[in-house]
């Protein structure tokens, strides 16, 4: 799986309250949530984002609440994947579970700038910065995560193993 797009770059500790503020949580409709995605840190995000774009951030992305609305809002706004130095753990689980691919790569987070054009290969963990002509290597996903991704999320993964009679 290869994703390519323009980068929205953010800093450390981007929390779920800025990814999708609680005042919008009285709905769980993805398109509705997407309208307010990142609003409290980047007011024009939802206007500027186009399908396939990529979020790159520094450490502890997605810290805070367990709201799955956060990765859902990101995915529904058209973002194809998120790369960060590190992710907070609940966000990490949630992203995989709903089928939003994410990768941890410190080198990429340090070197990629807002607006760069990048390409990400999820099978190899290779990230190519087309704008800067650089390549970074992310740590490969644990095999268990790869299985969930291959099934496109946790529910499908479970449904599949059920059908296999496991």
């Amino acid at each position: 799986m290869i994703k390519s797009g323009k980068v929205f770059k953010y800093g450390d500790n981007i929390d779920t309250d800025v990814i999708i503020p609680a005042r919008y949580l009285s709905t769980s409709v993805p398109k509705e949530l997407a309208k307010y995605c990142m609003q409290d840190i980047d007011e024009t995000f939802s206007e500027r984002v186009t399908d396939g774009d990529i979020i790159v951030a520094d450490k502890n992305f997605g810290c805070g609440s367990s709201r799955e609305h956060a990765p859902i809002a990101i995915k529904a706004s058209g973002i194809s994947c998120v790369i960060a130095s590190t992710f907070a753990r609940i966000f990490y689980r949630n992203a995989f579970n709903i089928g939003l691919p994410i990768l941890e790569c410190d080198e990429a987070a340090k070197n990629i700038k807002d607006g760069d054009q990048i390409e990400v290969d999820f099978n190899t963990g290779r990230i190519v910065n087309i704008t800067k002509d650089q390549t970074y290597q992310a740590s490969p996903l644990p095999p268990f995560m790869q299985e969930i991704i291959a099934a496109d999320g946790l529910i499908n993964y479970i449904n599949k193993s059920k059908n296999k009679g496991e």
């Binding site: 367990s66 529910i155 479970i158």
Partner: protein
């Protein structure tokens, strides 16, 4: 190699003798929790799985607490969806307005969690039950759906940080000050993916309410869970609240910890976290002159009876400063009633505070106390992120109930020693 408390509980629930950090396991669940915000998303996922019912009618708990009593039509619709699901699936532990409370105060009080349990909840502060010597952690709605259907959840076995607590806290220093101190020390990602394991001689000087407040904020250091060693205080609590079978796990002598911190509780001062991260802590002596507009006492961190008692003690015979809005929200109906019996409500209302029904309300900027642009609150809640309690340009300072109550009296962040 020995196992930590968390690792032992996970091994037992995965049906294996031994696990080590980094292993992926499937654990059997003792309880799956959801609230009015996360459950609707989970129901949608649950319905995709084509299963009839939930894995166990007693082992699912649904607590509409965030936007309840329903703050608007959308919130009402979400709650309706949860309620109908609960009735349809015959879920016993669904708590309607009137019998509810904030989930993390309610579940232990109802005896739904005991030592040795494995609990997942679609709410990040599910880590609260670590105070009881259970493994409990926050997950998202999809995990909740899978948990409700299968009674299992996958985990990567965490490494651990050991907090060896010694000594006795000073007057006016509570569990909240201790955990804020710890988060200030290790940072908001200081325990990322790890379990925070609390042990040592000093534990005996901490009440259950202190421990709940501390385990509650493990997530604020990025922790997977926070867990306390089980002692007589825990067992008393469990026996008084539950008839469930419990099991006490203790860490092996040779358990491996990535880090060990020794903390002398007697040296900790009342502590406040400045905006916009729980790690921006200062002791009360370093706070300086910070004027406030609103004081909020409550939440799953500090809305328990001891918290209200401390706040009332400080407010007794005093008034909330002119122009300051003070909101008290007891965490459960039972706490509310207890506070009434003890006369605490009278103290609050006489002092000029309002007392709200149990709800998450202002804690997440939901309702019942939202901040306007430029306003500042001191709150006994657990998060002070940008926009958490209202406008993006409002500010939240986190503290203990004692500091919050003292601040209500003066209108600026205040050391309880100065007013009590």
């Amino acid at each position: 190699m020995g196992m930590t408390m968390t690792q032992k509980i996970l091994a037992a629930h995965a049906g294996v003798d031994h696990v080590k950090a980094g292993d992926f396991i499937q654990a059997n669940l003792d309880l799956v929790l959801g609230n009015d915000i996360t459950t609707p998303v989970a129901i949608k996922e649950f319905n995709k799985m084509g299963v009839e019912g939930v894995f166990h009618k007693k082992k699912v708990a649904l607590v509409p607490d965030h936007f309840t009593p329903n703050k608007d039509i959308k919130a009402a619709e979400q709650c309706k969806m949860v309620r109908e699901f609960a009735y349809e699936k015959d879920i016993e532990n669904y708590f309607e307005i009137g019998e509810m409370g904030i989930e993390h105060a309610l579940l232990p009080e109802k005896g739904l969690v005991v030592c040795g349990d494995v609990v997942i909840g679609a709410d990040s502060h599910t880590c609260t039950y670590g105070a009881l010597g259970a493994f409990s952690t926050g997950i998202g709605s999809t995990d909740m759906a899978a948990g409700m259907a299968t009674g299992k959840c996958w985990f990567r076995v965490p490494t651990a940080i050991k907090f060896e607590l010694k000594g006795k806290p000073q007057k006016w220093v509570s569990g909240k000050d201790i955990i804020l101190h710890i988060i200030g020390m290790i940072g908001v990602d200081g325990a990322r993916y790890q379990s925070m394991e609390f042990m040592g001689d000093g534990i005996k000087n901490l009440s259950m309410d202190d421990r709940f407040a501390m385990a509650n904020m493990a997530i604020e250091a990025g922790g997977k869970n926070g867990i306390f060693i089980v002692d007589d205080v825990t067992l008393d609590y469990v026996k008084n609240h539950s008839t469930k079978k419990y099991k006490v796990y203790t860490p092996d002598e040779d358990a491996e910890y990535e880090k060990v911190y020794e903390i002398d509780l007697s040296t900790i001062r009342p502590t406040v976290a400045f905006p916009h991260l729980p790690e921006n802590t200062r002791t009360i002596d370093e706070v300086g002159d910070v004027k406030i507009d609103q004081v909020v006492i409550g939440s799953c961190t500090n809305g328990r009876i001891e918290d209200l008692r401390v706040a009332a003690k400080i407010l007794e015979g005093k008034k909330v400063a002119k122009g300051i809005r003070m909101i008290v929200f007891p965490a459960t109906q039972k706490i509310y009633l207890q506070a009434m019996k003890e006369g605490l409500m009278e103290t609050f209302i006489t002092a000029g505070a309002v007392v709200s029904t149990p709800t998450c309300g202002p804690c997440l900027g939901g309702h019942m106390g939202i901040l306007a642009k430029g306003e500042r609150a001191i709150a006994t809640t657990n998060r002070n992120f940008v926009g958490r309690m209202g406008h993006v340009e409002s500010e939240v300072y986190l503290s203990s109930p004692a500091v919050a109550a003292a601040s209500a009296v003066t209108g600026k962040i205040t050391n309880p020693e100065d007013v009590a």
